[in-house]
């Protein structure tokens, strides 16, 4: 069971109270972009076995979208942070590096 703390309402919500929103920090390629860029934005996803940044929505609670960093293999949660964040906050990156020294980084 995955338990994520909603950064907006502070509830430690379990998975059934949340909706998954897949990979976080995608850069949108819209009109004027090349076919390759649009294809990668539309279809290419990381799907790693390990550290992953995800979007979640606190559907049954405050209804807000937030972002979470967790490990897909162990379900370890490194932290959650507001959705108005374009890249993972430094404290969460530091926490991941401490727990996963071999982690290759955000990109």
């Amino acid at each position: 069971m995955l338990i994520l703390e909603c950064p907006y309402c502070g509830v430690k919500a379990e998975e059934t109270e949340l909706s998954p929103g897949h990979e976080a920090h995608l850069k949108r390629f819209g009109p004027g972009s090349s076919d390759e860029q649009f294809e990668s934005y539309m279809f290419a996803r990381k799907n790693p076995k390990g550290v992953h940044f995800e979007r979640w929505r606190h559907t049954y609670g405050c209804g807000k979208w937030f972002l979470a960093a967790r490990c897909t293999a162990t379900l370890e949660v490194f932290g959650t942070y507001p959705a108005q964040t374009s890249e993972p906050p430094a404290d969460i990156v530091a926490k991941i590096k401490a727990r996963r020294p071999n982690w290759e980084g955000v990109k």
């Binding site: 907006y8 309402c9 379990e14 059934t16 109270e17 049954y60 609670g61 405050c62 209804g63 807000k64």
Partner: protein, 185 residues
């Protein structure tokens, strides 16, 4: 004018806790950023209650103001006072980006009463009841539908959407069946 009626005609059930559908109850949804300077003043002027802190519900007599999300408040008050309160809040918050909506008829409201009232909800909601503050408004789900509840006068008050009132009554009734207590004694 047609008479206001509650969703289930004030149905009730006696199990190891008492379930009562109460209402019609006035409910107002107020959406605005909570850091708007006018918001706290408007709530104080119109309702005599300030801005609740995160996940808290404030009570004064029959009026309550609850924190629903970073930009939403729920105001619970007697059904007859809704129109005047909506008008007063709209006027008090004129000119700012906000929404005041009467949602009384879109919701249903239940009382779960008795010493074991919490056990009725423990079976239905993914909530750690030991961590709840006494004046906490908790939005969550009851089985498959969204709901919000808070502790009050020897029990809990639960708010859900009116369209699922019969479903919620069924859940609470089933959860309160005599002999199905979670803890003995």
């Amino acid at each position: 004018m047609s008479e206001a009626a509650s969703a289930l005609g004030n149905a009730s059930f006696e199990g190891f806790a008492t379930i009562r559908e109460i209402g019609p109850m006035g409910m107002i949804a107020l959406r605005a950023k909570h850091d708007l300077p006018q918001l706290s003043a408007a709530l104080t002027a119109v309702l005599g209650l300030g801005l609740p802190e995160r996940r808290r519900i404030l009570t004064r007599g029959e009026v309550r103001v609850g924190w629903m999300s970073p930009d939403e408040l729920l105001i619970v008050l007697p059904y007859g006072d809704v129109a005047a309160t909506v008008a007063a809040l709209t006027q008090a918050l004129a000119g700012v980006h906000m929404l005041v909506a009467d949602v009384s008829d879109a919701r249903c409201i239940f009382r779960i009463e008795g010493e074991k009232a919490a056990q009725v909800l423990m079976k239905l909601c993914p909530v750690d009841f030991a961590m709840l503050a006494p004046d906490e408004l908790r939005r969550t789900r009851t089985a498959q539908v969204p709901a919000a509840f808070w502790a009050e006068q020897g029990g809990y008050t639960l708010v859900a959407f009116r369209s699922v009132a019969a479903y919620v009554m069924g859940l609470l009734t089933h959860s309160a069946q005599p002999g199905s207590e979670l803890f003995p004694g």
